[in-house]
């Protein structure tokens, strides 16, 4: 099943390339959309066939791959990866639809790149063998490198090389750590790494190696500066995948590697991660206010929102220290983890939607600068309604998905330390300031110039894409229980692992 989800899109991508060679456009487009939709529908099997209430890996596949080095082709999902895989297949369909008429230059290659990337990302989330994980992790960079480098904006070469080197630099250290773990455990199985007895000094080195890799991906302050550049130069679809999925892979790494493999080091260095997360929330929140480029603003807002994810993951130690391991303390620690994961999913929807909104404007007026707009609501009322809705989700208004994760992380982190919660809660003000000031300058006001006056409202294709996202954002906000239910046992199990090893 998981193999199908990985290889079907890659095969589809290859077919799209082949079809694009012969017929121009149409066949390739429909083929790409067909593949995307089929993969999404197949992935829903993961959700409906998922056995809730267990933290064991499900849909497991295990075949020897390179027996000489004990490398297996080993796949499986739990409650943490399943929602992320669904998010991946969902976002890919939207990206294909969003690129339908917009991308003129080498469209088949564009669509193929996204399909191939989809397969690789599913691979990252389902790999249970360290080497397999590493292969997917690195391979994923290639299509994104091409997407930014070929279909990007004027400064795309700088951005794409910065993106590649930044993320590559991190992953090399991770590889070293993985190989070291192989010699400690005689296996490349990620699950075998969990709970390995390691000295604290070893753990700290491994933790730091992982940290570099994952912190760049999330991205955490101060290794976040590739993100605004990459987003600004990337085409809309590239930004969507980058924000919705790729950033989540770093956070996923913390859950799959750092916390369970090096729990003592995580506890030792939790203060650092919490500090970096809070800096992301406050510092980046402030920086976002003064951005002049819409995509940069949303990129910075992404960094701030991801700060909540890492805060939720690493505040658990403080919660335990503060509540002396009572049952309610354990509950709050789970809540922090759950809040972090919910925030990942929610941010996937909201940032994707916001980048698509900017894309809608960019396709018409060819500018991302805030000052080139004003009074868009006069010409595009339907678009304005969507944009305001997604802005409110970004602000974390209850009833939208953006609220759920932030709420849970703030509630839980107050049990660790009042000031963590207080600083994190500053996002209520900062998030509202940068998002709604953007809305004020772009959407509201008198029609600012002739370009705005010439804008036309959403077409059916754009309406479908934004409408589907709006539905997702509201559904998750009004009833997050089904999502949390899926992830809860796995996170509970993770917490047990982390706390059990002193």
């Amino acid at each position: 099943m998981l193999s199908l989800l990985i290889w079907l899109p890659i095969l589809g991508g290859a077919l799209v390339l082949a079809a694009g060679e012969r017929s121009q456009g149409a066949t390739a487009r429909w083929l790409a959309l067909g593949t995307g939709v089929v993969v999404f529908l197949l992935s829903s099997v993961l959700y409906f066939g998922f056995e809730i209430g267990t933290s064991a890996m499900q849909f497991v596949e295990r075949v020897a791959w390179v027996p000489a080095f004990d490398v297996y082709y080993y796949l499986g999902v739990d409650g943490i990866s399943t929602p992320l895989i669904l998010l991946t297949t969902f976002a890919t369909v939207l990206v294909i639809i969003a690129g339908w008429e917009v991308i003129q230059y080498k469209q088949t290659q564009y669509l193929a790149a996204f399909l191939i990337m989809e397969g690789l990302m599913v691979g990252v989330f389902s790999a249970l063998d360290a080497i397999l994980f590493y292969v997917f992790w690195e391979a994923m960079l290639v299509p994104m490198f091409l997407i930014i480098g070929i279909w990007g904006g004027p400064n795309r070469i700088y951005a794409t090389i910065k993106f590649f080197l930044y993320t590559f630099m991190g992953s090399v250290l991770m590889l070293v750590a993985l190989i070291y773990l192989r010699y400690q455990t005689d296996s490349f199985g990620i699950l075998d790494f969990h709970g390995t007895a390691l000295a604290l000094s070893e753990q700290i080195l491994i933790f730091l190696a992982f940290l570099v890799a994952f912190a760049v991906k999330v991205p955490m302050w101060p290794v976040h500066t590739w993100l605004p550049d990459a987003h600004v130069e990337a085409p809309t679809g590239g930004s969507v995948i980058l924000a919705a999925i790729m950033l989540k892979i770093g956070a996923y790494g913390f859950l799959r590697f750092s916390l369970p493999i090096t729990p003592a080091a995580s506890m030792e260095l939790a203060w650092l991660l919490i500090a970096l997360s809070l800096i992301a929330v406050v510092y980046i929140g402030l920086v976002a206010i003064v951005q002049e480029d819409m995509k940069k603003l949303i990129a910075y807002s992404s960094v701030a929102h991801m700060g909540f994810v890492t805060l939720g993951f690493f505040v658990i130690f403080d919660i335990f220290a503060h509540t002396n391991g009572t049952e309610s303390g354990g509950g709050s620690a789970v809540m922090a983890l759950e809040g972090g994961v919910v925030q990942m999913i929610s941010h996937g929807f909201v940032s994707a939607a916001l980048f698509l909104c900017v894309g809608v404007l960019y396709d018409r007026a060819h500018s991302r600068l805030i000052k080139d707009y004003g009074g868009v609501a006069n010409r595009m009322p339907i678009f304005a309604a969507f944009f305001v809705l997604f802005a409110m989700a970004n602000v974390g208004l209850p009833g939208t998905s953006g609220f759920v994760g932030e709420f849970m992380v703030i509630l839980a982190s107050l049990q660790g330390n009042f000031w963590y919660a207080a600083l994190a809660a500053l996002t209520l003000i900062l998030g509202a300031a940068y998002t709604l000031w953007l809305i004020k300058r772009v959407v509201y006001g008198e029609v600012a110039n002739a370009q705005v006056a010439a804008l036309t409202d959403l077409n059916a294709r754009e309406f479908i894409v934004l409408g589907v996202l709006a539905g997702a954002v509201l559904l998750l906000g009004i009833w997050p229980a089904p999502l949390i239910e899926v992830m809860a046992p796995s996170l509970q199990h993770l917490l047990q692992q982390v706390i059990a090893t002193p």
């Binding site: 003064v290 049952e327 709604l436």
Partner: protein, 660 residues
């Protein structure tokens, strides 16, 4: 009854969705019919529920609608708590909302955003009902933020006006400052009392009221006091108390029906309602109640003063609202919760009436809001004039009018109370009576009496106003004027002294000032007659006479008075400088800090030194190394031969033992 409660909340939500999505296809008339039908249904059912509490002996209902999420063993739910307090709020909210819906047909008759407006006010009704019907903090916060959202959308309803979209952003941000405190308060209660459910939190707080929290090393505060103050910060945002009041006067940029519904009668009272709802918590903390008391009293007096110098008719009423909200907090601060809610109710009627009457004047004069361009309007708008007079009398607490009962009880309660700050509060609210009478009658005389200063164009417009427009606006005025006059007389006894609220409001025995006042209460009529004995009546009369003297008898004296007290006049005109502090001070300096972080922190340090610096360093290093690779074959051959020689020497030497 569950089905009734669900219908009450869902009817306006469905109305809002229907008209919001299909308003253009439905057209104007069907849109307002759908939304008004929805609110009427809610209103009728709410009145039914209230009546069952009054006469039917209905038991309070506390139940779950659905489980929102289970996180770490904590059940977060959407659920209703229907007791006399929420039932009264539901009735007030839906009734005023219904009046405003009807009025809107007239007020917005020319507006292109007609359907959108109806959709928003229906949505507001839903959000406000969710807030007052909540049985837990999650839903309370949901309603709290949702009314904020609708307020944002409605202040910025005319989104092409720069002032409107500035005001709505300001309102949202200031509210968010309050919400931050509110959210932290909720989180603190959860951390120490382990629940988000009202009843469970109250019960847990009763059993362990003395818990302490270490805020800073060495600084320990009582959890309950700290949590109550945080919650009150939320209330200060929503109910616009000093220093978070600055958004409310600016919110007058929204259409007038909104000013009446959201920014006077209902949403801004959410803070009052919340504190009353949390009475079992606040009762445990004298400190928190003193804070509430002092902020309320300050707002009541100082904001009333600002109302004296405003020329925009809506802004005068807005400052009056601030001041009256301050009164309500004073009542809460002296543990007279029932009186606070009582004043909330009477104020909802008469303030909605005042705003809607002002709106009728504004529409009649073709959107003129400057009182200096009005005068003598009683000739042209007799019904508006009469109802406005009723509202004004209620506001200044003329005996027998509704406002008299609620406000006089607040003053007496402040007088009787022994809480820290109560004496200060008593004098401030007493002085505020003078201020209230002065600005109220200033407005009344400037608008309806005196010389006609109306723009000829506006006068022309007034003559050609469609008949249905006036009718749609006058009916709600009349329907609101009736309770504004009589509701106090009819309900003071059961609401305040009759124990109507039962368990919904909790007052600790030693704090119960109402009990003492109740000893000397012998019916509504005698309570009104009692007014001649207290100072408040004469103070109000003095205010009336001052207004009459300066605005009717000797208007020419005003400029010289203004010059003599120029300093005070300018301070009031500048509204004590809060706006300057927030906009030019805090907002501007945050922006410069942000720019510094961005351009120095991100661009220069991280990108410039670390990222591109590393790249440059590697580049330089490579440039040096590159020198070795000349591309000339003979250079490479030479190096190879050299290398071979070295290696040979090494091997041969090792073999022959040269290096030993």
């Amino acid at each position: 009854m569950e089905i009734v409660y669900l219908t009450i909340t869902l009817a306006p939500l469905l109305g809002a969705i229907t008209v919001g999505l299909f308003g253009h296809r439905l057209g104007r008339q069907r849109s307002h019919r759908v939304t008004i039908a929805a609110v009427s249904l809610s209103c009728l059912l709410s009145l039914f529920v209230l009546s069952r509490f009054v006469w039917g002996g209905l038991e309070p209902y506390n139940g779950t609608v659905y489980t929102w999420a289970v996180a770490g063993g904590l059940h977060m739910e959407i659920g209703f708590l229907i007791d006399p307090l929420s039932a009264l709020m539901m009735a007030v909210v839906t009734f005023v909302s219904l009046m405003v819906h009807i009025y809107t047909i007239g007020y917005m008759h020319e507006d292109p955003g007609y359907q959108r407006f109806f959709s928003y006010i229906n949505l507001f009704t839903f959000a406000m009902l969710m807030l007052v019907m909540a049985n837990n903090f999650l839903q309370l916060f949901f309603g709290w933020e949702a009314v904020g959202l609708v307020s944002y959308l409605l202040i910025g309803f005319w989104f092409t006006r720069e002032s409107a979209i500035f005001a709505n952003l300001k309102a949202f941000l200031i509210n968010r400052i309050g919400d931050m405190g509110f959210l932290l308060g909720i989180a603190l209660l959860l951390a120490y009392f382990g629940s988000l459910d009202y009843q469970q939190v109250f019960a847990a707080a009763q059993t362990q009221p003395a818990q302490m929290i270490t805020v800073l090393p060495g600084l320990n505060w009582s959890v309950i006091t700290f949590a109550c103050i945080l919650l009150f910060i939320g209330a200060m945002g929503k109910s616009a108390q000093i220093p978070l009041h600055v958004w409310l006067p600016d919110s007058m940029e929204g259409p007038t029906p909104i000013s009446a519904l959201i920014h006077a009668a209902t949403m801004v009272t959410a803070g009052i309602f919340m504190v009353a709802r949390m009475s079992p918590l606040f009762e445990l903390s004298d400190t928190a109640l003193s804070v509430v008391l002092i902020f309320g009293a300050m707002t009541a007096f100082f904001m009333g003063l600002v109302g004296l110098v405003q020329n925009d008719i809506k802004r005068v009423i807005a400052y009056s609202t601030l001041s009256q909200l301050g009164y309500m907090f004073v009542a809460l601060g002296v543990s007279a919760y029932a009186v606070g809610i009582f004043h909330l109710m009477t104020h909802a009627f008469f303030k909605a009436l005042l705003f809607l009457a002002a709106g009728a004047v504004i529409v009649a004069l073709h959107h003129e809001q400057d009182m200096r361009k009005m005068g003598n309007l009683r000739r042209y708008l007799p019904i508006t004039h009469f109802t406005m007079l009723m509202g004004t009398l209620a506001l200044v607490a003329a005996p027998l009018f509704s406002g008299y009962y609620s406000k006089d009880l607040i003053i007496e309660a402040a007088h009787e109370a022994h809480r820290a700050g109560a004496t200060l509060a008593y004098w401030l609210v007493l002085l505020s009576v003078y201020v209230t009478a002065l600005y109220s009658f200033r407005l009344y005389f400037l608008v309806f009496w005196g010389k006609e200063r109306i723009d000829p164009h506006a006068k022309e417009h007034m003559a050609h106003l469609p008949r249905y427009v006036l009718r749609a606006m006058e009916w709600p005025l009349i329907l609101l004027a009736i309770p504004s006059v009589v509701i106090g007389y009819l309900t003071v006894e059961p609401l305040v002294f009759g124990g109507f609220f039962g368990q919904a409001l909790f007052v600790a025995e030693p704090h119960d000032v109402l009990h003492e006042i109740g000893q000397s209460f012998h019916g509504s009529w005698s309570f009104a007659m009692h007014a001649v004995e207290g100072p408040a009546l004469y103070i109000a009369l003095a205010g009336f006479l001052t207004a009459w003297f300066f605005y009717m008898l000797r208007p020419k004296l005003l400029p010289s008075i203004r010059d003599r007290f120029a300093v005070f006049y300018i301070i009031l005109l500048r509204k004590y400088g809060f706006d300057e502090l927030y906009i030019d001070g805090i907002a501007a300096s945050s922006k410069s800090v942000a720019r510094l972080l961005w351009q120095v922190g991100d661009a220069r340090l991280i990108d410039g030194v670390m990222v591109n610096g590393t790249a440059r360093a590697i580049g330089r290093f490579a440039a040096v190394i590159r020198g070795l690779q000349t591309g000339y074959l003979y250079h490479y051959a030479f190096v190879m031969i050299l290398g071979l020689l070295v290696l040979l020497t090494w091997f041969v030497g090792g073999w022959r033992g040269w290096f030993i």
